[in-house]
């Protein structure tokens, strides 16, 4: 390949970090930007192939839906489920408020 095919800006990386729910420090963003650019540039070699008439292959086992009888089965006890939680309140996972001041309209 000759030259860069992919151009990634710091702002794009910042946006992707927000989508990925990663609070990235400025120095990490600075470091990631050229790294992502070079990786995506390498990946761009896939564009050399003509694939218009090729069916995508999600995985190697030719199966679609795998169903079982709709029967209630035992599941983990509540205390097991909550055992690793960073914060709990009775039978609940505890989190800070989900809606901000401006989100009251939903």
């Amino acid at each position: 390949m000759n030259g860069k095919q992919t151009k990634i800006t710091l702002e794009q990386v910042r946006h992707v970090g927000q989508l990925a729910r990663l609070a990235l420090d400025e120095d990490v963003l600075q470091r990631l930007t050229p790294q992502l650019e070079s990786i995506l540039d390498y990946i761009a070699k896939l564009n050399q192939l003509e694939v218009d008439h090729v069916e995508p292959m999600a995985h190697a086992v030719a199966m679609t839906n795998v169903l079982r009888e709709d029967v209630v089965e035992p599941s983990l006890a509540l205390e097991e489920v909550l055992r690793n939680a960073p914060a709990t309140d009775g039978p609940f996972f505890k989190v800070p408020k989900v809606l901000g001041e401006d989100d009251s309209a939903g």
Partner: protein, 496 residues
């Protein structure tokens, strides 16, 4: 028994326990003593289960635990859930995570009588080729402790090579069993997609992940694979068919074995000449044993890494979305204004740099407007790669090639350039992409004061494990590489 006589291979250990040459407790104690002595240098284990191991061994000696692995000390990669100890994935995110259940393969090994020694180090969430991306520090290669053991199952490979267990379990998403096996001079097998249930394996890239064995010998590999396989409805990709007895068929040589040599593998850039020479010698060895060489073409090989570094990060970014600082795992101690900040800070603090990098690539590739250009295109290229293999396996029984383009590299050598690390997977990724099986076995050593092992790879068609194991066994019977041990460990005598 003196330490020198304590077996470090799986079938020898099983035999020694079964014939009461050594008790399971004695064998476990001796193996734990080796760990105590050598693991401060090798750093193969993240955690040990000393008391539990001795209890499990005592139950074998009491006759309460039986099975094909009765009393055999086994190490588990630390991304396999166990209802004892921690399951950390070598990540700060899961440093204190205690899984509420055993993975399917852990249950199977337990039923087979295995004694679990502990959990082995890996690249965080199995992302890497050197085990340097571990939140708990790098594992060292037992052949040269200045070098990496490979990865991501580097802890498991190093544990086998250093004599710290009689067999280990790893996972392989793009080469993570075979490449460390090659760099540590042991045998590693990636089963066909669908052969082994992944239930309880912490997911990295679900369409690529497989669980498999790492051992000193091909026979040990077959014995361990026998225990891992079998249907499990908790992993819907796991096929509902009984598997053959790989060990029973193992010593039948394949008459007229047709070995495919792909011109694209031979032409791949960056192959160390010592690796190429050792693999060429192995090919000659096969010819001398009556194998027929078949020239094949895998024209899309050169796109394997690119397709992999779309598919795996996309799936990882989705799988790792579950680490939110709410249900389990690390939560930020920072005061936060809302839940998005809680997620974002917890994740940024809990994940290491390589994991973040892959989540970012995956998130970018799956973001609005890019799905077709990246993920969908990569899935189409995956089909082309699969078709290459389908055509090749119409003409040959197995494909022969290097496992890794180079022997073990120095610690720190590639950490600053992620792409150079990714290219370590050149010969291994297409196997995962196509969902076929592959095995790595030792085929030589470099010269010099600290010889480094070189790995030979045999790729087989889907559910062709018997074929590649038998072919690997043919080579192993004709060579002595599997009897060598790192300096300081007792060498294995011929037919010993």
């Amino acid at each position: 028994m003196t330490d020198m006589n304590v077996p470090d291979t799986l079938l020898a250990a099983r035999e020694a326990v079964a014939t009461k040459q050594i008790s399971a407790v004695e064998l476990t104690r001796a193996t734990l003593a080796r760990i105590e002595k050598n693991d401060p240098t090798i750093k193969a284990f993240n955690s040990l289960a000393v008391e539990r191991a001795l209890q499990q061994a005592a139950l074998v000696d009491d006759g309460q635990r039986t099975g094909p692995l009765a009393g055999v000390p086994i190490a588990l990669k630390d991304n396999l859930c166990t209802n004892w100890g921690t399951t950390t994935c070598s990540s700060k995110m899961l440093a204190n995570f205690r899984a509420p259940y055993d993975a399917h393969v852990v249950q199977k090994l337990e039923q087979a009588g295995a004694v679990f020694l502990g959990k082995t180090n890996l690249d965080e969430f199995a992302m890497g080729s050197s085990t340097e991306n571990s939140a708990f520090g790098a594992t060292r290669n037992p052949w040269d402790t200045a070098r990496v053991p490979g990865g991501s199952s580097g802890g498991s490979a190093a544990a086998v090579a250093a004599g710290l267990c009689c067999g280990a379990i790893g996972s392989d998403t793009g080469g993570s069993i075979r490449q460390p096996a090659a760099l540590c001079g042991v045998v590693g097998l990636k089963p066909t997609y669908g052969l082994v249930s992944r239930w309880g394996l912490v997911a990295f890239a679900s369409s690529l992940d497989q669980i498999g064995p790492l051992t000193w010998t091909v026979s040990d590999c077959a014995a361990l694979l026998n225990v891992l396989v079998g249907p499990d409805r908790r992993d819907s990709t796991c096929i509902d068919q009984p598997a053959p007895d790989y060990l029973a068929q193992l010593n039948q040589p394949i008459k007229g074995l047709r070995l495919g040599v792909a011109k694209e593998f031979s032409a791949a850039q960056g192959i160390d000449p010592r690796v190429q020479a050792a693999v060429n010698q192995a090919i000659q060895q096969y010819q001398a044993m009556g194998a027929e060489l078949v020239d094949i073409s895998l024209p899309h090989t050169d796109y394997g890494i690119a397709a992999y570094y779309v598919i795996a990060p996309c799936e990882a970014s989705s799988n790792l979305a579950r680490y939110d600082g709410v249900h389990f795992g690390h939560r930020t101690a920072h005061a936060v204004d809302d839940i998005v900040e809680l997620f974002s800070r917890s994740r940024a603090e809990g994940f290491g740099e390589e994991v973040k990098r892959r989540i970012m690539i995956g998130t970018y590739a799956l973001s609005s407007g890019y799905y077709d250009a990246y993920y969908n295109r990569a899935l189409k290229v995956r089909r082309l790669i699969k078709q290459d293999f389908d055509q090749a396996f119409g003409r040959c029984d197995a494909i022969i090639c290097p496992t890794s383009p180079t022997p073990a590299f120095a610690i720190g050598e590639r950490t600053s350039d992620p792409l150079s690390m990714y290219l370590a997977d050149t010969f291994t990724v297409t196997c995962n992409i196509a969902g076929i099986c592959g095995i790595s076995l030792p085929c030589g050593f470099t010269d010099g004061p600290r010889p480094l092992p070189i790995g030979l790879q045999l790729l087989g068609p889907a559910f062709g494990e018997s074929t590649i194991l038998r072919a690997a066994r043919m080579y192993e019977q004709a060579t002595d590489w599997h009897r060598r041990r790192p300096a300081g460990q007792s060498q294995v005598a011929r037919e010993g």
